[in-house]
């Protein structure tokens, strides 16, 4: 339904900094797409381009079958939820939610009914007369969502929707949002820097880097097979090492790593998931020193420094009772099923 076709944006004229570099993107009807990337990767610019708040230097934006070039932001019929909500401070909750309806000349009675319905939907029934300043962060987020949904936009865009909220609230809201979008059948394009949020929310994840799309796929795809070292590291995988793949093994500074059958041959970065780093007696495998342990609830992340200090550190996931102490010397062996040859 939404299609971006070679969209480029440069700030500060043709010689300026590139925010978006020939981006192609499709979002299907009823699909939730999450753009994931570090700050400065151009993901917010992407939303602003679709919303019509940022002019493009090249490329086309199509919504439905309509080219949006020349369509001003207020006639595009898309919704945008801003990063820090941007609720109108001088209006109460109800007036904030009703704003878009008023702009579309919806009759008063209908406005009131819709505001009630939406506030119930986002879990704030009866809050219409409350002042915006009296809302907590989570409540503001809900009001912002209700406001964006009120005019029934064809496409709802969310900029860091849960960015400022605390963790437990974020995890709960992510589930609520997903259910809500499923129920409403809304087409959603969200951007976030939080991979957990992206994976929980999205049907499809698009990872951006320096204004380009680094990878696009289902959360499972991206998680299991990151396209390159950047994506892998961005997803929180630190066990990345360059190597030479030959047959079903690869030569690296960590020694010989088994790789899954059918992997690409030659020089590649390799990713070893923490679960694939097995601890063995110090005499076997790669000898390492435990530099730190981080308790992760279900497991302990053990940080390991190989004896060759120029080799990158490793992270292993182990059960609590098996975890060695900081300073212990251990051996490391690798499990081929958790090794990924990156692009």
């Amino acid at each position: 339904m939404l299609r971006l076709d070679g969209v480029s944006v440069r700030f500060g004229g043709p010689a300026g900094q590139t925010a978006l570099d020939a981006v192609d993107l499709d979002v299907a009807e009823h699909e939730t797409v999450c753009v994931l990337g570090p700050s400065g990767s151009g993901k917010s610019t992407l939303l602003r381009v679709v919303a019509g708040l940022q002019a493009t230097d090249r490329g086309r934006v199509l919504l439905g079958d309509r080219d949006l070039a020349g369509v001003p932001a207020h006639r595009r019929g898309v919704g945008l939820m801003f990063q820090d909500h941007q609720l109108f401070p001088q209006r109460d909750v109800g007036a904030n939610v009703a704003f878009g309806l008023r702009m579309h000349h919806v009759p008063r009675a209908e406005q009131d009914a819709r505001v009630r319905e939406l506030l119930e939907l986002v879990g704030l029934p009866g809050a219409a007369r409350r002042a915006v300043a009296s809302l907590s962060g989570g409540e503001q987020q809900r009001v912002a969502l209700a406001r964006a949904l009120a005019p029934r936009p064809r496409l709802l865009m969310l900029d860091e929707p849960l960015g400022q909220l605390d963790r437990s609230l974020r995890e709960r809201l992510v589930v609520e949002l997903r259910e809500l979008f499923g129920e409403l059948g809304t087409t959603v394009l969200a951007v976030t820097h939080d991979q957990g949020e992206a994976f929980a929310l999205a049907d499809r994840v698009v990872v951006m880097r320096d204004g380009r799309i680094a990878q696009s796929g289902t959360p499972l795809d991206v998680w299991q097979r990151p396209a390159d070292a950047f994506v892998a590291r961005f997803l929180g995988f630190d066990n990345v090492v360059p190597g030479t793949v030959s047959g079903e093994a690869a030569d690296t500074v960590w020694g010989k790593l088994p790789v899954p059958p059918g992997s690409a041959q030659g020089h590649h970065d390799l990713l070893v998931r923490p679960a694939g780093v097995r601890l063995v007696p110090a005499t076997d495998g790669l000898t390492c020193t435990v530099t730190a342990r981080t308790f992760r609830g279900t497991h302990v992340a053990v940080h390991l420094q190989p004896e060759d200090t120029s080799a990158p550190r490793l992270e292993a996931a182990c059960a609590l009772r098996d975890a060695p102490e900081t300073g212990d010397r251990v051996g490391v062996a690798f499990d081929g099923a958790d090794v990924v040859v990156l692009g």
Partner: protein
């Protein structure tokens, strides 16, 4: 599908730019036309009349004037007294701005209205009040034998009296809306209370302080009435000299040359100001003013409040009190005789009872306020938009920003006289029209409207506007729904200022007000200019009434403001 994608996008972008520029220029049409017809044209015409003989310009007069040691002295005095007055005003009024912005105390609204009263008093009345306080036979003379009317201090004090409100209202208005947590953040990072203020609040206030200082400087640089009365033969400003050359010596050529000198000086100041302001502009995080003010705590804060109240008492209430006292104190003892005399035409100073001047003044000032708010508001909106776009249009618009201040720095005498000689023939034969007076008064009101609204408009978060746009609001709706509610407060302050300066405007009005429809300041000046105790007493009585009218209007305005703060 055709591969015209990039070209289409470029075209759209171009169209959008052109549309944006057209909108900005469109908004400027009214202000530009207003200034061209009612400011540039009259001033240019009067300068031409003075410096042009036949078809030749006698620019040699400029050199003569600049070489004249007497006039050089005038220029020097004008400059340094303006600098001293500005510095002194900031020194005295900045603590006041802080107190009004951050503290809650009983009677605050009333006091805010009170400190604004001096600003709207006609300059001649201020001069007279200070003369009654500091001069021969004045209150201080009677009590301690202290006379300041022969020193420059009388002028400086009168200027501070006059401009206290400018600083308190423009700086305090913004200060009240600055988020105190910004300063708290700095304190947490190890800054002392003063360092936090200097590093966080002061830079945020910078543009407002600079704007207020500029206004004070322009007012004192072009000071006329005060200097006329308190200056004696020793102290003369350019403006007073222009008046003397025009009205007394009929030396239009010297007056024109001096007007140009003043114009150039003011232009230079404005250029410097525009340059400094542009470097410091930034979007500020504004909060509800009602939430930042609280009761003073601890000795230091109470002392500060006390000091400010004492300053207001000595500097503002005492001179005003002297004025009222004189209006009630005929030689026969206290009574309302002078006020009664205002209702009759017996004194012969006017064709109508002087009391009618009140209605005239209010009507004129309301019309002038409407004009100033419309013209200034449009200009302020256009100037806000200019920050978003660059290019030639942006530069033109920003240039206009500085030009808007010129009426404050150009001799009101010149403007008034210019009105008389230019707006007297079709298609603009306004000689007999009542609108002539409000037009001249609006000219000085517009800069206030622009200066008050611009900082607030520029501080509105751009993303709030974007949020409204995405929800379907057209640019006009965005302005109405987002900007207007946020700047309503500033708009009311601006309207109050415009109303006040219109009410007190004297230099131009004195030339163009019709004898059967005098304004209050003109009536006061006429009465002061005539001999006799009754005339003097009537002038004092009328000044007292003018003061009351201003105080009541301002109090009403404060009321409106507080009613709306809930929404803000």
């Amino acid at each position: 599908m055709a591969v015209a994608g990039p070209e289409v996008a470029e075209g759209a972008r171009l169209r959008k730019d052109v549309r944006g520029s057209a909108l900005r220029l469109g908004l400027l049409v009214v202000p530009v036309a207003f200034f061209a017809v009612f400011f540039a044209y009259p001033v240019a015409a009067i300068v031409a009349r003075g410096l042009k003989v036949g078809d030749t310009w006698r620019l040699g007069r400029l050199a003569d004037v600049l070489a004249d040691p007497d006039l050089q002295h005038v220029l020097w005095f004008t400059t340094w007294q303006a600098l001293a007055s500005t510095g002194l005003t900031l020194l005295v009024a900045l603590p006041g701005a802080y107190v009004f912005a951050r503290f809650d105390f009983p009677g605050k609204q009333l006091l805010r209205a009170v400190v604004t009263v001096p600003f709207v008093l006609p300059t001649v009345v201020v001069g007279t009040a200070f003369l009654a306080l500091l001069g021969r036979g004045g209150v201080l003379d009677a009590l301690w034998g202290l006379r300041l009317d022969t020193t420059v201090w009388a002028i400086l004090l009168a200027h501070v009296f006059f401009n206290y409100a400018v600083v308190v209202r423009t700086v305090g208005g913004l200060w009240a809306q600055l988020d105190p947590r910004q300063e708290e953040a700095a304190r947490m990072l190890g800054a002392s209370r003063f360092a936090a203020w200097r590093k966080v609040t002061l830079p945020a206030l910078g543009p407002a302080v600079a704007g207020a200082a500029l206004m004070v400087f322009l007012f004192t640089f072009t000071s006329f009435g005060v200097v006329q009365i308190l200056g004696g033969p020793t102290f003369t400003t350019l403006e007073a000299e222009i008046y003397r050359q025009t009205a007394q010596l009929l030396a239009l050529d010297t007056a024109a040359a001096l007007t140009l000198v003043q114009f150039a000086a003011v232009g230079a100041i404005l250029a410097v100001h525009a340059w400094t302001v542009r470097r410091r502009e930034s979007a500020l995080k504004l909060v509800d003013a009602a939430q930042t003010a609280r009761r003073p705590q601890g000795t230091v804060q109470w002392a500060l409040l006390g000091g400010v109240l004492l300053t207001v008492l000595l500097l503002i209430l005492v001179p005003l009190g002297v004025l009222v006292e004189r209006s009630l104190h005929p030689s026969a003892g206290y009574g309302l005789d002078y006020f009664r005399a205002l209702t009759s035409v017996d004194s012969g100073a006017f064709l109508v009872p002087p009391i009618e001047a009140i209605a005239n003044s209010l009507e004129y000032a309301l019309a002038a306020t409407a004009i100033a708010v419309t013209v200034g508001g449009l200009a302020a909106v256009a100037l806000t938009r200019s920050r978003r776009g660059g290019g030639a249009v942006g530069r033109i618009v920003r240039g206009f920003d500085a030009l808007l201040m010129l009426p404050l720095g150009v001799s009101a005498v010149t403007v008034g006289f210019g009105f008389l000689i230019t707006l007297d023939e079709p298609p603009l034969d306004l000689r007999s029209s009542w609108i002539l007076v409000p037009l001249a008064q609006a000219l000085v009101g517009v800069p206030f409207v622009v200066r008050t609204m611009l900082p607030v408009l520029r501080a509105v978060d751009e993303r709030l506007r974007e949020a409204a746009t995405v929800l379907g609001a057209s640019p006009w709706r965005v302005w109405r729904e987002v900007d207007l509610p946020l700047v309503r407060r500033a708009l009311l302050v601006a309207a109050g200022f415009a109303f006040a300066v219109s009410l007190g405007e004297f230099g131009a009005t004195v030339f163009i007000a019709r004898p059967d429809q005098p304004t209050l300041p003109v009536a006061v000046a006429t009465l002061l200019g005539r001999a006799g105790e009754l005339n003097y007493g009537q002038a004092m009585a009328l000044s007292t009434l003018l003061m009351l009218v201003c105080a009541v209007s301002l109090l009403l305005l404060e009321r409106i403001r507080t009613d709306r703060t809930g929404e803000f």
